[in-house]
Symmetry: C2
Subunit: 226 residues, 2 copies
Amino acid sequence: MEKNYDASKFEKPSVTVDIIIFTVKNEDLKVLLVKRNVPPFENFWALPGGFVKMTESLEEAAKRELVEETGVKDVYLEQLYTFGNPKRDPRTRVITVAYFALVSWENLKLKASTDVSDVQWFSAFDVPKLAFDHKEILEYAMKRLRWKLEYTTIGFKLLPGKFTLTQLQKVYEIIFHKNLDKRNFRKKILSLGLIESTKETTEKVSHRPAKLYSFKKKIGDIVEIL
Amino acid sequence: MEKNYDASKFEKPSVTVDIIIFTVKNEDLKVLLVKRNVPPFENFWALPGGFVKMTESLEEAAKRELVEETGVKDVYLEQLYTFGNPKRDPRTRVITVAYFALVSWENLKLKASTDVSDVQWFSAFDVPKLAFDHKEILEYAMKRLRWKLEYTTIGFKLLPGKFTLTQLQKVYEIIFHKNLDKRNFRKKILSLGLIESTKETTEKVSHRPAKLYSFKKKIGDIVEIL
DNA sequence: TGAATAGTGTCTTTCAGACAATATGCC
DNA sequence: GGCATATTGTCTGAAAGACACTATTCA
């Protein structure tokens, strides 16, 4: 901290949060974008976000935006990185704290997906030109997502509460963009001891039904690394 | 981003950077602190830091602070986390972007270490009460440091350009607070293929001299994970 | 009984960890 | 030669990866 301080003495940047909201749907990784209807970057798609209010924490701001856009609470949310290049917004100095969120499609389809043209899910592998430096932010989020998937158990967060191992494997395959061996995948996931089979199975499928699994809710989420 | 924007319409938070500067000296992990001489937290020790100027990026701000406090450039610097609790500063809303830096004692002892009472190195394992939420920030930095040391090659950054394997092992032992097996440590480090032996050895020691190693400067630092 | 997906085991290779004797330079 | 530290290899257990067949349900 500076030695002398006068809050009014310095010109201050604006601070926003932007959220990268991922979900999996139709065998694809999706990201939620909103269409801008004012300059700059009018008619460009952008990450959802907004100004941080003076009385809310950064995480509260991110959660607020998340609820506004998707109607879901209690999802996985983590701070990603803070982007502060002085030229990233052509109007004025804006520093943005990026968060990334993982939601299961099943949990949110009731609400946000029924919105119309100005809020839409895009394939994370094929997004339109984005406003500001949002492309860079998205790419950073993809890196973090892959990394987390490899070294933590975060993948569950993209699925509903009960899921089959095949569904889970699919999530991994989608995000890593490569096929995985079924036996090795199951061995590894189960050896982590973080999910348990329920007594239920999938129903009304014209083939052998699969067991449904759910997370063990253990002492504190073990997602914490780093 | 918000749909409508008027830079003057919103009250804005102040934005600072704070830096956790680590070094290793006397077989201890040290962190640089500065003593505050104005309220709030007058006479408390705090992390070095300051306001982000309107025309500089966050990283530039962090580098500027780093040079001001230590006189060193070209050190390892990475963004740590952004702390934005609305109550973290009792005066006004201050959001701080924390960076952490690793410097080798040998590279900086010329300058900053000769400063007097208000800038000092403390053992990272035994710091005084800190101003604001700086204790929390420091703890987070320690976690990140341990993590990075385990999964990347970042440890080299705490040593001078040429070093012995024993010195390097010492760094790891200090930070992990436990002893490591010499043979396994050397096997692992050398298998990474990131350092190479020079033709030099330590001199004027009253025992067998050790080979000096240096980093291979490869295509881009391989420290990038996550 | 055929279609479709679920579920399962072995072998090999690689890496981490335990463990102790020899080598070298200086005095 | 004695002291102090440097340097080096083997064995064992665990985990990751390659690989193919049997089981179950429904139509």
